[in-house]
Symmetry: C2
Amino acid sequence: MFNAQNINSPEVKSDQSVVFRIYAPNAQEVRITGDFLPTEKVTTPYGEADAPIKALMTQDQNGLWVYETSALAPELYSYSVIVDGYETTDPNNPFYIRDVASTKNIFLVAQDFAADYAVQDVPHGTLAHRWYDAPGLGMDRRLTIYTPAGYEQSGQEYPVLYLLHGAGGDEEAWMTLGRTAQIMDNLIAQGKSKPMIVVMPNGNVIQDAAPGAGHQGYYKPQFMMPKTMNGEYEASFPDIVNFIESQYRVKKDKAHRAIAGLSMGGFHAMHISRLYPNTYNYVGLFSAAIMPRADQDAAGVYQNIDQTLAVQKANGTALYWIAIGKTDFLYQANVDYRQKLDAMNMPYVYRESEGGHIWRNWRIYLREFVPQLF
Amino acid sequence: MFNAQNINSPEVKSDQSVVFRIYAPNAQEVRITGDFLPTEKVTTPYGEADAPIKALMTQDQNGLWVYETSALAPELYSYSVIVDGYETTDPNNPFYIRDVASTKNIFLVAQDFAADYAVQDVPHGTLAHRWYDAPGLGMDRRLTIYTPAGYEQSGQEYPVLYLLHGAGGDEEAWMTLGRTAQIMDNLIAQGKSKPMIVVMPNGNVIQDAAPGAGHQGYYKPQFMMPKTMNGEYEASFPDIVNFIESQYRVKKDKAHRAIAGLSMGGFHAMHISRLYPNTYNYVGLFSAAIMPRADQDAAGVYQNIDQTLAVQKANGTALYWIAIGKTDFLYQANVDYRQKLDAMNMPYVYRESEGGHIWRNWRIYLREFVPQLF
């Protein structure tokens, strides 16, 4: 008889193969699915999409359901288990990440570049959940702040990266799915990046904090919340910058401010850096959801785009970095945006990767973007 | 056809009843178990114990497995789902707590005293994960620090509560299972507690941080780790106090220091307060694992108990608070310890609650202990 607590799953072996073991004694069929598996075409309410296959597990002589991979490329992977059609988690793996409303188990093949996603024996920054007053949105709101190792004692002033999440994310996403603290600790320890403060705010203007962490209590998050990308966030963003610059030892000039974001956060970074066109010297658009906005809820935030971009161009940026995967559903929108920038001779650096609209790419982009800052 | 993302589970109704809904189309039998259910006697490797029943769910006309409770008493509850013998999580509930190696879904019936476990619309303190140098243990280690709302701007000095976890816990346990940030925010906002800093260190001397947060990477935690309660933690505890008192605006005298802990942490609080017998004016032993230690690994930490207690008694404490549940397996050990204190006329306050060795009690004890401090 198995005690579920005594099963080793997943077992990441030294050759980078992984074994999963599931105790489901009465199940007829157990499958595993996750981003380490090949994909297949599936039909979704939004059309055809690629999804990982649901691989059959097989019962060993002890009755355990087992699946063993070949050697996996270095990466932070996630997976689910499907027992007789019930898709849920592996009870032997206590490590989880929530993405919007779905929670999956994770494991790390920490070789090569993915070693930067692990906690290494290097000096560690401090990660704080803190609340700030957002008069522009009429509430107190929570954000996550990474201060680099030594911040508390150095007496020095630091540059700041504002790092924005996508639709469905919140102030926890870059920390959990994005491995920001680990990437920053490791890049700084390796001398590849300058010590900097990383501010991860919440970009959903109807939330004061991530689900479960705010006054709305526990509720199931959804992908596109009311008021998403209606301009209010961009218009109120100076509340965040003012808070950081009044509360932390930071360098308060354009040369020492960067803003970057993924998907909706890339959209936010594009618009915020253009609305305040002499504020950010470094701009990162990761798989940015750049598309025309017909609605004008927020009194002109999405008007005069060409004019404000021209001002931003005239003021200059040290780096305007655009990254996207070849199969991203936003690929064409980014082609169109680059054509607009080309037509106005606005300089930018373009990085095209494999893959689509996934966290794997956003971790890679962060790890490439940060060493270019300050 | 159900999309798992569109199911509402658990639904906490206004009358405090709760409905759980599980989509497991091919399952023969689905059960739910959790601490809101009555208990039954079960046989474990450690003898007979009380465990929640595994209640049958029933299929409704749409094929969803459903279980509805009667009105539940206010509390933070946890539960698991068992599909054809596979015990795991509810995929429609994105809120989890890990306890040692097992992860369960949670929900909150936030009436009455349990409203203090919810995030209310009150000023919020800052919660930080920070690393400190522990020369006594030869490593950098992580701890969790709660600073009350206003700390950063007030310029004032604050008292400090050192709050210790039990065996199997770590520097995250009081924050996740213990709801410390919510309890502190709410008690302070209600004027019931003084603003204070709460320091939650890691009491497992082989860990630098919680599983997954330290350099050991992802591994399955266990209940009693090597070197647990061998005296090294108590002996090295001044490293933590020195760090806090050099890094935060705190009042550095006995009158403004408190130490409390649950189970193993109660054992630690008892021994630390006795070893440094004029350092802590407030001591809280929550279901403390007070038992004789035969081993003497740490050069005398567990020797001379009577003599050091006598010194602690002579120096005096403002509060020596002992709390335990009537059915706790450590009940008799605490009777014995109180008899020792009685025999030496050492003053203490005793609080006996219903229930056993469970987090429900430790949250209640924290909420009662903190208003008595400073």
